[in-house]
């Protein structure tokens, strides 16, 4: 068992890393909103699900790929991938902003606590998941393969696959842009101000509603990118995918410490790797259990997650 594990260590690690980056991007959808509103953005999982379908539609219907088409190469390939990525990000971003308008805005103005928005967000995710379920006849939808998943070379003994490499590189670029946006721009500063102290931010003339919309937009863009990467890696989607990945990504956000970007990063990576290693040792059916047990242990020793901001702690 251990020998096998060492043999496959690098290929497992690569798979785990690319999964981890998908988790990071979805986790950002949770964590950015949580940072600003202190609310779980329950509908984020369905934003992800819708984004996977946006990618499939671009590849299948806009560029007319079928299961038997020849792989695209060169410029055409990058055009297809680029269009799909941008389209799913835009769809997810817009959807996320709309969700905020429908499910959160009114309740936020009424100061209704955290549970009422949670339920209305659950309502929105039911509507989205059900609408897609009806449109897809409750069946999973396969995405045609647009590119050859060629091997770029070997890293130790592991095959470095093109799709995994694209995911890791593109995700890192997106994260760098996001960090620059949050840390360097005026809007990013406004987001940080609102997350630190909403009332003080308001007194300084920051338009809170605008900042919240921007936060949902940015979270949605990241989640949308995750949808594209997911389809690139697994080449299918279904109406229930949001639920499965959403819980994992939310766990990742908490594992790292919800509310900050660094936390989502380390949490996502840790979860992607842990899940992959745990499935290897214990079989895929136990991976969720392992992840949750680890989450409990981490939170038990570090109640705010690995990199969480210190919140008021209960003494107990």
């Amino acid at each position: 068992m251990i020998g096998n594990f060492l043999d496959q260590f690098w290929s497992l690690t690569f798979g785990g890393l690319s999964l981890g980056f998908i988790y990071i991007l979805i986790a950002l959808g949770y964590t950015m909103v949580y940072g600003v509103l202190r609310m779980i953005n329950f509908a984020n999982s369905e934003v992800f699900m819708v984004a996977t379908f946006a990618t499939i539609i671009i590849i299948r219907d806009v560029f007319n790929f079928t299961q038997t088409s020849e792989y695209a190469t060169g410029f055409r390939l990058w055009l297809i991938l680029g269009t799909a990525l941008v389209a799913s990000m835009v769809v997810a971003g817009v959807l996320s902003v709309l969700i905020e308008l429908v499910a959160y805005r009114r309740l936020r103005r009424m100061n209704s606590g955290i549970l009422a928005p949670l339920i209305s967000a659950i309502g929105v995710s039911m509507v989205l998941a059900e609408a897609v379920r009806i449109m897809t006849d409750s069946r999973p939808v396969a995405s045609p393969r647009a590119m050859e998943k060629s091997f770029l070379g070997k890293f130790f003994d592991a095959d470095v696959r093109l799709d995994n490499t694209i995911i890791i590189v593109a995700a890192i670029i997106l994260l760098v842009i996001l960090l620059a946006f949050v840390n360097k721009t005026r809007l990013g500063k406004a987001i940080r101000a609102v997350s630190m102290n909403p009332s003080a931010a308001k007194l300084m003339g920051i338009n809170i509603d605008g900042v919240v919309s921007i936060t949902f937009l940015v979270g949605g863009l990241m989640t949308g990118a995750a949808g594209f990467f997911y389809v690139l890696k697994y080449e299918n989607s279904s109406f229930s995918i949001g639920f499965e990945l959403g819980i994992a990504a939310f766990t990742a956000a908490i594992l790292g410490g919800i509310g900050n970007i660094k936390g989502a990063f380390y949490g996502g990576l840790a979860l992607g790797l842990l899940e992959t290693y745990a499935s290897f040792f214990l079989g895929t059916q136990w991976k969720a259990v392992t992840v949750f047990v680890i989450l409990v242990l981490v939170l038990y020793t570090r109640p705010n997650g690995l990199f969480g901001e210190a919140m008021t702690q209960s003494r107990a």
């Binding site: 429908v102 209704s112 955290i114 989450l295 409990v296 003494r315």
Partner: protein, 338 residues
Amino acid sequence: MINLRDKGADIWERSNRIERTFIALGFIALAASLPFFGGTFLNTPIADYESVLVYPVAMFVLMAIGLNIVIGKSGLLDLGYVAFFAIGAYTMGLLGTRTGLNTWEILPIGIAMAMFSGVILGVPALKLRGDYLAIITLGFGEIVRIVALNLETLGRSGGILNIPTPPPVFGIEYSFDSHRIYYWTLLIIILLAIWMVRRLAVRRAGRAWESIRQDEDAAELLGVPTFKYKVWAFVLGASVGGAAGVFYASKTLFIAPDNFTLQISILILACVVFGGMGNIWGVILGAVILGYLPDRIRFLSDARLLVFGLVLVIMMNLRPDGLLPRKKREKPLPKEAK
């Protein structure tokens, strides 16, 4: 907006003991007579009306009352309540098929098992705050389901078959198709649960929960052993869920991991919030509506959950405190106004 909650409370407060008894008996009689309305507009188009009354309606009411102790009374967000329901059901399934024990003998064992797992989960989880508790409980709910799905003893995805029905009580037989007998039995269990919650609410525990919900730090400073009472709330909530589980298994005679998904936890949570967190009558109303609605609108067939989601969004936006919200303490006394 009309405040039904205050109107109801007003009538109740102005009645004397005898009137109150009549009001209570009237409601119980109304609830007990529900199975006889099968032919009216209440009828559910596809599912059998009386069976809908047992599950989901009455079962949801019972579980919502239990979850309300955790969320509504003490403000702890539990997203894995289905775990206790599952533990009760599997206790019934295992003991009912492997040993000679009957439902009424297993009921306390199932409740004890649910309470025990409530302690196991609650002691580490309740040291965390708010949203982290939500994810831990959510994870626990999934773990219970996954364990049931993968353990040979628990029948894997096939579940447990041929769970015995409850033995006759006072000569009344429980048979698979006599739904109303189950419904009335559940009604008695629900009344017991309501009685327990109402008694606790006016005692030390109820006051401790109320103070924890409003401001945990202040409660702690005033000497309320908050951790102890949080665990108590959690364990009591679990016991109600366990009781519902035992009875559920004994009613459906067949349980499988698919019956205990996260969706149930979320639905029960929706019942509590939709009806009016913290107010037991609101919670019951919420559970009745949300349990009943999906089956009543089955004529929408495929779109019914979509409509259900829309109803949740619209209702929460219109009445964020739920249909029958809890009484607001700060509100001026209505009697002076008149």
